[in-house]
Amino acid sequence: MSLSFCVLAVVRRKRGIGLETQFAIEMLNITKKFPGIIANDNITLQLKKGEIHALLGENGAGKSTLMSVLFGLYQPEEGIIKKDGREVKIKDPNDANDLGIGMVHQHFKLVECFTVLDNIILGVEPVKNGLLQKKEAREKVKALSKKYGLNIEPDALIEDITVGMQQRTEILKMLYRDNEILIFDEPTAVLTPQEIKELMQIMKNLAAEGKSILFISHKLQEIMEVADRCTVLRKGKYIGTVETAKTTMQELSAMMVGRNVNFHVEKKESKPGDVILNVSNMTVASKVHKKNAVNNVSLQIRAGEIVCLAGIDGNGQTEFVYGLTGLEPLVSGKVELCGKDLTDSSIRKRSTSGMSHIPEDRHKHGLVLDYTLEDNMVLQRYFEPEFTNKAGFLKRKNIRDYAERLIKQYDVRSGQGPVTVTRSMSGGNQQKAIIAREIDKNPELLVAVQPTRGLDVGAIEYIHKQLVAQRDAGKAVLLVSLELDEVMDVPDRILVMYEGEIVGEFNPKETDQEELGLYMAGAKRKEVKA
């Protein structure tokens, strides 16, 4: 207590309390410790009125913790928060709401079967004599929508509208509550390029109308485009705040990672060989709706090429991979690997026939989180004679040796080496462990589904190199990705998937993000030969 009073006194003396301030929110010298780690170490973030301020940092840099402090979910050990120059105590999210702080979460918090209007007024319903008064609310929503160019239909059901519209509903929720400080948590992850452009424009409109915006992201391009200033965190520490007009992407990334990062994947011209994977007329049923998630899809992948299946999330890519790897049965179609028909084969058979699968969800499918690292390293091979003797006993020593080799070769970092419980490892290293396991199986076909999801630039760079190395070693690689940068950069061939069908094939050298976006959004399509 006495310490925080001291800090307070010093800060007061320095800043001169009561003066008119240019800052909407100030978080000064925030320190938040967790057992064994300082998540926020003396971090200062000052958000000017009417500016768009980016918060940049890798995973685990402390962005989420800082925002949780701002929302009263955590109480910092040190430091103070000021609103309009006056110190405030934020004990819980209700306090944050009262101060006019609102947030659009990465995963929307909307009731699917409610209308847009219902969702907006949820929690602050206008009520007279116990009856809802929607008319007033509708007028207010329409006015707000017009003022900021949000273009929203108040009576549409959430489940019927696009992801971009859902996001605008979230924005309207904040505006309806007269929030002055708007926080966007990685808002572009789920959007098409066109939608991203629209969002950027909306953010600029909001700022022009005097709202203060905090934009959390690790996408440098977007920050450069939309933000006025950018605060960079690295490993819980405050690195600096820069004006985007006076900096470059290179500089920002160096601040974020602590070293220079190569954005472009270095690769030679591909030399496609024989057909490795041949999928013909695959149809997979959907678990969500009555239509087929994958509809009559045919594709071929040759040895020595990376083919990318691109598209917006939820257009059948996941189900295609499930059908390919055997996690879901096919309605119809055929899967051939190196000329061998695997259509009705078990998952194990596919795996031993030369198919490796880096799954989309590493926690759901990729790892047994409560197993040790070494046990996860042999997850696809534990039954082989190298690891199990004829009596059914595990050869522990061989497992240990094998795990140690992979850990060294693929630089998988963990607290206690092979015996580390996988749950305690960082996301990047968990992913590296999966990649090591799947690549070391020496597959003919490597299926990598969003292999860089949620990872920081350094890890992304590493994983892309591994994919290219597989290609150069004459393997076939199927990359499924939602990240446009990755789609443009890594593969030799791009297939765009829309509503369960392949609607376009592109050479990454001859297309751009704009064109891909149109196909991904279903605005254009062309016939694709199998």
Partner: protein
């Protein structure tokens, strides 16, 4: 490898958690006794803790210890059945029904088929396994929760057993006859193998406890050393990952509950083939042995070897409870007190959670990346077994 403090060792934490639970249970049991009748509370508590030590002659003590061990064998088997399935992510509350099925089959072997003890044990194993497999099939292929099907099967097993065994009782008696009463059935008694000599000639003590302890080691080996155990645990921790890795996760569920049932079934035969107790065909509640197995499994830290000791302790308390002075307390008191103690025994998960969240130690060594990446991740709370002895 980081050097860990003594108190950070998981085994040590588990052990301490169990001890804390036991003390807590004894304390609350004592408070309840105080409320009911403050005069006799101290004496009653002493009786419970003493169990066989109440006898002042050592031969009598050792003989009485033998009785407790006879009943420890089936309890240990039930506890192994629970912890085995729990490791695979299944809560085998049907252990009581599998136990009953085992008892029924063993006694059919004795009175109906006139088999010897080995045959009867195998029959009991098959019956228990069959009940387990039913739960397993329902879970794997119809997605019926094993807790629901287990509870239903418990009652099905109980009343079918009452019905079937009523044909072996002598008219007017509610218990099945003693095995020793006829030559044809006496061969089904599990041999003493000289072990009874250690217990002042207690005729009930025999191979049963040895078989149970062997099973504890077998379960331990199966779970920690074999490919089969690796697959089963993977299925239990994350069935999606097991499927992804090409394991037959449905088959594993069926096999797991089958094995769990087999263990419980053998457990029942280890009691009823000693002649120590007879089946009461009028009973309307599922024997507590299965449910006590739940508490015992958790008290033993879900470790097969730990279960040996926790099973003994719980049986010790249960037997001790029957020594409470009935002039001061009503006859239900022994069950009530042992139930309270057993109930608290299953709180080891909570205590271990408190350990992890650092109530007992100021410095914690949570891995850096984890704390950093997802600080709000809730620590997993063990499912504590409830509904032990109601």
């Amino acid at each position: 490898m980081k050097k860990k403090g003594f108190f950070k060792n998981e085994g040590v934490q588990s052990f301490i958690a169990s001890i804390i639970c036991i003390l807590l249970g004894l304390l609350i049991g004592f408070i309840v006794l105080l409320f009911i009748n403050p005069k006799g509370a101290g004496e009653a508590m002493l009786r419970i803790i003493q169990n066989f030590l109440k006898w002042n002659r050592s031969e009598k003590q050792i003989e009485s210890l033998g009785n407790t061990l006879v009943k420890t064998a089936p309890l240990l088997m039930c506890s192994l059945s629970i912890l085995f399935s729990y490791k695979v992510g299944l809560f085998n509350i049907g252990v009581a029904g599998q136990y009953v099925a085992g008892a029924c089959a063993a006694l059919i072997g004795v009175f109906g088929l006139h088999w010897n003890w080995v045959g009867c044990i195998l029959l009991a194993a098959a019956a228990g396994a069959a009940f387990g497999v039913i739960s397993g099939l329902l879970k794997a292929y119809c997605n019926v929760n094993e807790v629901i099907s287990g509870i239903m099967l418990n009652w099905i097993a109980l009343y079918s057993t009452n019905m079937i065994l009523s044909s072996y009782t002598v008219a007017g008696r509610k218990d099945t006859p003693e095995l020793a009463s006829s030559v044809e059935t006496a061969k089904a008694i599990i041999p003493n193998a000289g072990i009874n000599k250690l217990f002042n000639g207690n005729k009930y003590v025999g191979l049963g406890i040895i078989i149970a302890i062997i099973f504890a080691f077998l379960v331990w080996i199966l779970l920690s050393k074999t490919k089969f155990g690796y697959e089963l645990k993977a299925t239990g921790y994350n069935k999606n990952a097991a499927k992804y890795a090409g394991m037959a996760e449905k088959r594993n569920i069926v096999v797991t509950l089958g094995i769990a049932g087999l263990i419980a079934g053998i457990g029942a035969s280890l009691l009823f083939l000693t002649d120590f107790s007879q089946w009461d065909i009028n009973q309307t509640s599922v024997p507590a042995m299965g449910f006590n197995g739940i508490a015992s499994a958790f008290l033993g830290g879900l470790n097969p070897i730990g279960a040996i000791f926790s099973s003994y302790f719980i049986q010790h308390i249960t037997d001790g409870g029957s020594n409470v002075d009935l002039t001061m307390y009503c006859s239900q008191i022994s069950d009530l007190i042992s139930a309270i103690i057993i109930y608290l025994c299953s709180f080891t998960g909570l205590i271990r959670y408190l350990f992890k969240s650092g109530i007992f130690s100021k410095k914690k060594d949570r891995p850096e990346e984890n704390a950093n990446a997802e600080p709000e991740q809730p620590a997993p709370v063990e499912t504590t077994a409830k509904g032990g002895n109601e």
